[in-house]
Subunit: 357 residues, 2 copies
Amino acid sequence: MKKLINDPLDIVRESLEGMAAAHPDLIKVNLDPAFIYRADAPVTGKVAIISGGGSGHEPLHTGYVGKGMLDAACPGEIFTSPTPDQMLGATHKVDGGAGILYIVKNYSGDVMNFEMAMELARSEDIRILSILIDDDVAVKNSLYTQGRRGVGTTLLAEKICGAAAEQGYSLKDISHLCRRVNINGRSMGMALTSCTTPAKGTPTFEIGEQEIEMGIGIHGEPGQKRMTLKSVDEITEMMALSIIEDLSYRRTVREWDEDKSEWQEVELINPPFQKGDRLLALVNSMGGTPLAELYIVYRKLAEICQKQGLQIVRNLIGPYVTSLDMQGCSITLLKLDDEMIRLWDAPVNTLSLRWGL
Amino acid sequence: MKKLINDPLDIVRESLEGMAAAHPDLIKVNLDPAFIYRADAPVTGKVAIISGGGSGHEPLHTGYVGKGMLDAACPGEIFTSPTPDQMLGATHKVDGGAGILYIVKNYSGDVMNFEMAMELARSEDIRILSILIDDDVAVKNSLYTQGRRGVGTTLLAEKICGAAAEQGYSLKDISHLCRRVNINGRSMGMALTSCTTPAKGTPTFEIGEQEIEMGIGIHGEPGQKRMTLKSVDEITEMMALSIIEDLSYRRTVREWDEDKSEWQEVELINPPFQKGDRLLALVNSMGGTPLAELYIVYRKLAEICQKQGLQIVRNLIGPYVTSLDMQGCSITLLKLDDEMIRLWDAPVNTLSLRWGL
């Protein structure tokens, strides 16, 4: 393994120190427990948005801390959930008195640890709601999840909810909005190569010189199927149709009910895509795939959507949810409404995304 | 070789088609000859800035077309200079009547073909000046150059000159500014792995599992020396000190003299870095190196600069001048003055860079 690192155990800390040194105008870093937060936190009277998860997916989530997006992000060790003390520390730091939303990707460890942090914070009378992101159509369950994994829709939810918080939305309204983004977003990924985690030092999985893995997870966990290498047009079509033709997906999730002060089982149903839908299309690099290839993916995706009567009205093309050095890409389609478009277009100022001049 | 492509011969065209489909509000694409230009070109009364070079370095240059930066970019085939008809086509399209500046990276093919385009355009009475970027301290000459190669300083010059053009600077003033950026910028790169060009299909060079190449070029051309893998702190120090301790570099370049209407040999000298200098630091991924590792490089770079009495006042960290899928990074330091800082901070709207909220 060759990486630009010192000791594999120091990667997350040293990377956070680099961020702190580079962007003192935007963010501050707390090292123990580890979290990164807006330099101007807490913003009094504003709902705070916190996310987090294993490291190795940068810029998700640390790169999305800043005005108009996340108030704080809690990075775990590489591909490892952050611990409840990280979320609790971040919660104390960014609590502006209007409540806090946790945006949680659906991986068992993340779900458990965010829930534990919520219990701890609630015992201090801090208002917190949480929304689970489970948008990966490739698998019903995986090594790390009950139900679908949370991938590309996460950052779209972070952007849209971050804008809503900035505009003074209430905690309850933002949580409903976040849930709406989640059920309207769908993703699928594929890999040409494996990632290599620094701790292990060898590729996470073996893959032949003429093979690809369809439906890959962002930790290198297996997807739908192994197949022989195909043209980018064929690969794009397989991913796009898996997303577009995905039927209603019904499941129950645990959400905190503020009125009843207890956990409730909430039934969620993803509505299917329909002719005339307006979409945000995210074409995402898994890390090692260059921009030029992503635009070839986008070219085919735009053609497919047009044929299906789906209208891409916003797009995002680049490395946004990565898997270390993995080569491959993912596609996320989010069905937009007027409110989501307005919030998407709102200005944002993070170290990785500066929309809306 | 596994890449997200159809036919290797179609990569550049299909990627440009994807860009055109994705960003019609920002850019337009001409396919034959190939160039990409601002959607609102020509901007009457504004100096137009054009750059270009071989593809495979994205987002350089195509990603930098837009308000506040380039008016047009001419992408050659992968690692191959664009041809004069591309630059001439772009010149006709973006000429706003106030003259045109070509920003040219110092590679023999680029220099020759941009010069040929200038001759053709001048025969039509279009005013054009050109500035060469030669900022790579690793080598005095290389496979592709007479003198130092042009790398990271190129996009800094494109940004600063693009802002100046937007603010109504004259052609002569912008060309002087561009030259000042060039002589105040220095870069050095290194590679952990080789890139793989789609046409060849195998790695450009062999490198052992415990080896790195210091001073690598952005086409995978050899650098200063092959050495055993070191810690990122050691690697960063070697690169940073090569840049910071680089002495005055004296050479003559060919520039067009408008008053005399002839080519002149101009002597250029890079001033050495000095205590108290204010710097822009660019930590650039060669393509396959993740963001987290770049921040560990930045962490050490900031420490080294501080020790040397150099003050980093602006930074840029990410994949900006890539070499396909190569793993590795480069550092560029640019000595700033008040005018450059003001122009750097001006808003820009390109598909890859949206500074200055």
